[in-house]
Amino acid sequence: MKVLVINNDGGGFADYVEVAPGTTVAQLFERQVGATKPDRYLIRVNRQPCPTDQVLQEGDRISFTPTKIEGACR
């Protein structure tokens, strides 16, 4: 099934990806973001906060936004 994944880290990936039925938010997070701790991200499914063990559904919109994003001076 396809879900829309938005990773607001690094280059700002946003695209539809194929996931197996039964995939949880935590599994998708590990696959898309890597070994970083999920508590360092705002994780939203269909724009709502969610538990990491929530099972994804076809067409879900999942976004990962780092809570710490470093600005600069120029």
Partner: protein, 346 residues
Amino acid sequence: MTFNQNLLLRSAIAIQDQLHPLTLVKSRLELPTATWDRCQSLLAQLRRAIDLSWLHSAAVMRHDLEQMLQQLQGEISIFNGRLEPLTHESPRASVRDIYADLVALYDEFTEVKINRKERSISVTTEPIVLEGIYLGPFEILLNWRDLGPGSSGSYRVIALDAYPAATNDSVTHPHVQDEGLCEGEGRKPIRKALEQGRVLDFFLIVANLLRTYNSGSPYVSLSDWNGSSCADCGTTVNSDDIYSCEKCNTQTCNDCYVSCSRCDGIYCGECTSRCEGCGERSCQSCFDVCQGCLAELCRNCLDENERCPDCHEKQEAAIQSTEAEAEFETCPSIQSDSLGQTPVPA
């Protein structure tokens, strides 16, 4: 959270229209015909110069034509780049997505304002406190004309209860100057969110940027936020412009610190004195007492015998006088030749 569904829906439709690639590029879709015409004109002149065997003119025409062809290639390349958004398959927010984003803003932020006339959306963050320094709440104001492919990304970050850096009023946050946010590592995701019309993500990223302090690259570091006060004149200055007295550690500014004229050490005004001999300020360690008159002078003004210029002159004069006397006493007696022995004629 209450919101006007009709306003949100109408705004979502307007924003989605803005995202349509044609909206942005249609006004710029013009082939570089003027440059092409110029190339044709130069080519005609080159042919005529060759026909007339005007070799110098032909060389000039050829050079000009080469340059014009390069310009034409550049303009074609730019035109081609403008066509790219028309074929790019990046997911772009639908009216439904944008509407859902606008609704979600009310869950994420304490205040949301949508102004269809101004074509703007703004949210207000909670009061931002970084490393114990209160910076107040910020309004993030986005004009949705800045959404879509090739967006300039101009938005404003307005301090609503500004507590700017002591040394620079225009810096209201370590990464905000003149209401402009320096995005640092947030730059790419912000561009991407604006390009795809992901309004909610844009505001979340900017808000998280405001909640984060990067000590490696601020406009004004938080350690300097309140500035440092000069003990001599009371001015508040950046800590880079503060000097610490080598004797008493008092902090003085660039205008008030004293560099000792003799040892080049850095001191505050109170730990230096003006030398009565030369008028320069020196630290106490570089002052000494004249062995003659006991006046305190800087060591630059004392001779090798630790005497001030006046005493030095007096001493020199005394020495010269003594030497003269000594010379007088040690010299053989000056007597008239054969005094008292004047020959007397027989």
